[in-house]
Amino acid sequence: MLGYLLRRSLGWLLMIVVATNLTYFLANFFLDPRANYLQLRPPRTPGQISRSLAEYNLSRDTPLLDRWWHWISGIVVHWNWGYSPVGESVNSQISFRIGVSAQLVLGSLILSTLIGISLAVYTAARQYRFADRFYQGVSIITLNTPVVVASLAVVLLAIAFNQSVGSTLLFVAGAQSPTVNGFWPLLLDRVRHLILPTISLTVIGYASYHLLQRSLLLDNINSDYVRLARAKGLTRQSAIRRHGLRTSLIPVATSVAFAIPALFTGAVITETIFAWQGMGQYFIQTIGKNDIHGAVAVAAFGALMTAIGAILADIAVVALDPRVRVN
């Protein structure tokens, strides 16, 4: 098993390396850092711009392959992912933003999964009754409401809520306030910032787990082994819970595992709207500011997350399903 995981990981590593290098060349083709200097007053000469950029290994006067070699050896030898056109270190940006994103992403992932699965168990047992149809309708609507709309609606509701209670209980922007001290006040401040983005990510995220788990459960409810479990003397409900649910969790676990990477880099819009400085927002920023090294680092991070998701999915399957255990 370990050997298998190791081999899989190596395969993924190779894919990540190839994908990252590909992005490096693409980014060099599409992004031109010189543009950042053109609006500066007083105007710089091309020579000046080139010299400033050369400092960060971004000058077009250096052949692309030389720059690439410099960049890649920096990563391999010093784990240094380079600098933005204005000299910010990519490493420090990313290490700070991963933490910010993680707060946002993990909480809502856990909430979405729990809400989705519980709703599925509840509705599957009531197939085609009112509760089932109602929650299914709600889920179809939330799943398909555009993220922008859902997030802005949450913002509007929160503003209305704050106005009605007469103070800013929930913050609609930022990850924390700059002037809070002490452990408990700090924690409370974090929570007040976290609530709204977490709600909006959960609202758009839970429905896919609900609908997937529900249909898998329904398949299983009609399966021969749930019928046999009932024939042994379990009630319908407990047969579904004991025999149907765990078997049908396998695909859902896989899809949760795969959702982690998508969430990390995919929460772009949520982070933009709630002004969180996470990975998603960094991604827009790097492209907007022609930050080649930053963009490539985001790409590498995305590929890494995909790989981690895939490996987690493998582990989940092996843990839940005895049929695939390699003897």
Partner: protein, 699 residues
């Protein structure tokens, strides 16, 4: 034999079940009455859609919520239909045990079998974990799982189908139920395993003293196990009688037809089977009158008035013989009791159709040209392990050194249990690619010497195939016309009118209305679809038809018609068949020669009657004896060789006889002889030059 007078443990009255559907309300069960006495076995027999399984599900309270159930089901006088799921769950598993058809899907894949049996015990008994586990192991041991203590920790996928069915039986008997319901418990299993499972069922009944409801379509199984038999048709019981009476003197034309349509492995006389015309009715908006009337050969105008009740037949040989037919009392049996020998007004209820005459058969076999010659054919597959990562851990020897030949106008039956390599053999032939080793010649052309698509196409014309599943073999998105035109277009026919004429001709040939060729396959019944598949295979005028279990997916009454059609086509068109089947009784109906396969090798080959009447190889003998005969007298008196264990896997390539692990003869041999079985691969050899050969050192 009359009915015992003890109080019934289960009493069903006027049970009716209906389901909603797009087409309207489906009345799946329409008034079932029966009593089941302690320790007795009631068989419920019927074809697919007759309502037999729905009846058993209604007794268990396992029908889906949207089903509407009326009538009465009383267990020891307690009405079950009034109970809700929670109350019913206290009865299920404790008083009622159930065994389902498909053992491969009825165990939860993610729990060990021991845990699943423990669960069955703990639901109804307040047991200590250790004690429950010990009891579970005992039960597994009882149903014949070797190394039960160890195997209890294994997961279902580590067991074979037969072993899983034993586990299910262990579960059903765990709480000493009063009734065990077995719904087609052996249908998904091989015939040698079926014999074992039926033994285990008898054992479980003896252990628990339970009454058994056996639901099956197999009249042979019924003849072996039942005390009373209930025959169902179109959701209604049409005949109820003690088993011997039912087989000897059936009083309902449907039952008579069913018995006449079953091919028998023990009867040498080759007469055409007697099919029942038409198809079972839809259970939506049934017209008044007897539902069997449109198919009944002896119906009279009075049959259409109202549906006949299941009433006692006046003048029946035993009391308690009931039938739902207004002419039941007119049916007579002269002296000897013979299946389907019922007569009305001196004429048989079902006249036997004439046997087709095959001109090819008049020429001695040796003088007819060979259409297929297979020599030393072998096929191996890499064996892959691991569901995530496929790794080759060995080779599967699917086919090893198979020799066959088929002459013009001849049918070779290739028989064996699932996994014996018969399908691999057939696919090797159909692929028209040079085999891994050995040679295949079709109509004298060696496939290894085929060059180019043109030559391959030319050869494909002469070789066509009919598949097992008539639903799967026809593309559901194409009309019958397009389906039949496809082989013609594939050989380069482009003229629409020529194709149209040929399609009409083909429809006619297989007994279908050419007008219907613009319909989609779903508009036809199973038997009709198989006819379409046969028509498609005949489109290019082939000389050899390869038939892969062509009737095993069909109901008995329909199957007989298809077998007769195949025999007729062979006679009129001079076709040769390679007929692959697991059912030896069907093979007996259609073949001229038989080859028996075991684990990739042919163990016995010869002319039909020689092999069936005088089987040489111990495997052939066991196989023949495992097939249940639809005659309770024969079935209960004959001696049966029950093989141990399951079909081993084909991984071993070592020399020696592959049957050694299950051979009943091997254990009777002395040490030197046994060593020969293990060390030396037996060749196919014959005595007396009759062409009857077998691969056993000692036969």
């Amino acid at each position: 034999m009359g009915f015992p007078r003890t109080a019934p443990v289960l009493s069903v009255r006027d049970l009716a079940v209906s389901f909603p559907s797009e087409a309207g309300r489906v009345d799946a069960v329409r008034g079932v009455d029966f009593d089941l006495c302690p320790g007795r076995t009631l068989a419920i027999v019927g074809e697919s859609g007759s309502g037999k399984s729905v009846t058993s599900m209604a007794v268990m309270g396992l029908l889906p919520e949207y089903a509407s159930v009326t009538g009465s089901i009383a267990l020891n006088g307690r009405e079950l239909l009034e109970l809700d799921d929670r109350q019913m769950s206290k009865i299920r598993g404790r008083d009622l045990g159930m065994i389902f058809q498909d053992p491969l899907s009825s165990l939860t894949p993610i729990f060990s079998v021991g845990r699943q049996i423990v669960e069955a015990l703990e639901i109804h008994q307040n047991l200590d974990r250790d004690i429950a586990w010990k009891r579970a192991v005992e039960l597994l041991d009882l149903v014949g799982i070797p190394n039960a203590a160890e195997r209890a920790r294994s997961f279902p996928h580590e067991f074979s189908g037969g072993m899983r069915q034993r586990v299910v039986i262990a579960m059903a008997m765990a709480n000493d139920p009063q009734i065990i319901i077995a719904d087609e418990p052996t249908t998904a299993l091989d015939v040698t395993v079926q014999a074992q499972i039926l033994d285990v069922l008898r054992l479980s009944q003896a252990e628990t003293g339970a009454a058994l409801i056996m639901i099956t379509h197999d009249l042979g199984v019924v003849a072996g196990v039942a005390d009373e038999v209930l025959v169902m048709y179109a959701g209604r019981p049409v005949e109820l009688a003690p088993v011997e009476e039912l087989f000897a003197r059936p009083r309902m034309p449907y039952t008579i037809g069913l018995l006449g349509a079953v091919p028998r492995v023990d009867v040498a006389e080759r007469r055409p089977l007697v099919p029942i015309a038409g198809n079972p009715p839809l259970l939506v908006d049934l017209p008044p009158g007897c539902p069997f009337q449109p198919r009944c050969p002896v119906s009279v105008p009075g049959c259409g008035d109202r549906e006949p009740e299941l009433t006692v037949v006046p003048g029946a040989a035993v009391d308690g013989h009931r039938a739902a037919c207004i002419r039941a009392h007119e049916i007579r049996y002269d002296g000897r009791a013979v299946n389907c020998g019922g007569r009305i007004d001196g004429r048989p209820v079902y006249p036997v159709p004439p046997a087709p005459d095959a001109p090819a058969a008049h020429v001695p076999r040796e003088q007819r040209p060979a259409v297929l010659e297979v020599k030393g054919l072998s096929k191996t597959f890499p064996l892959l392990r691991g569901a995530l990562l496929k790794r080759r851990v060995g080779w599967v020897y699917a086919v090893s050194g198979v020799d066959l030949d088929i002459r013009q106008g001849e049918t070779l039956g290739l028989v064996g249990e699932s996994g014996c390599g018969k399908t691999s053999t057939l696919l090797e032939i159909m692929n028209l690619r040079p085999p891994q080793s050995g040679s295949i010649r079709i109509g004298g052309v060696d496939v290894a010497e085929l060059r180019g698509r043109g030559a391959e196409r030319q050869l494909r014309r002469t070789l066509q195939m009919v598949f097992q599943d008539p639903i799967g073999a026809l593309d559901p998105r194409m009309t019958v016309f397009d389906i039949l035109a496809e082989p013609l277009q594939a050989i380069g026919e482009a003229d629409r009118t020529a194709i149209g004429a040929r399609v009409d001709e083909l429809m006619d040939l297989v007994g279908l209305d050419p007008e219907h060729s613009d319909r989609f396959p779903t508009a036809f019944s199973g038997g009709q679809r198989q006819r379409i598949a046969i028509a498609r295979a005949l489109a290019t005028n082939p000389s050899l038809l390869v038939l892969d279990e062509p009737v095993s997916a069909l109901d008995v009454s329909i199957q007989a018609g298809v077998i007769n059609l195949l025999n007729e086509l062979k006679a009129t068109l001079g076709l040769s068949y390679l007929f692959v089947a697991h059912d030896l009784s069907v093979v007996r109906q259609i073949s001229d020669r038989v080859a028996v396969m075991y684990l990739g090798r042919i163990v016995e080959i010869g002319a039909l009657d020689e092999v069936f009447d005088n089987p040489q190889h111990p495997y052939t003998q066991a196989l023949l004896s495992a097939i249940p005969v639809p005659d309770p007298v024969v079935e209960r008196t004959r001696e049966r060789i029950v093989l141990r264990g399951d079909l081993p896997s084909l991984i071993d390539s070592a020399s020696g006889c592959r049957f050694v692990s299950r051979c009943p003869l091997h254990v009777t041999l002395d040490v030197a002889q046994r060593a020969r079985c293990i060390g030396e691969t037996p060749e196919l050899t014959g005595r007396g030059g009759t062409g009857h050969r077998n691969a056993c050192h000692f036969r």
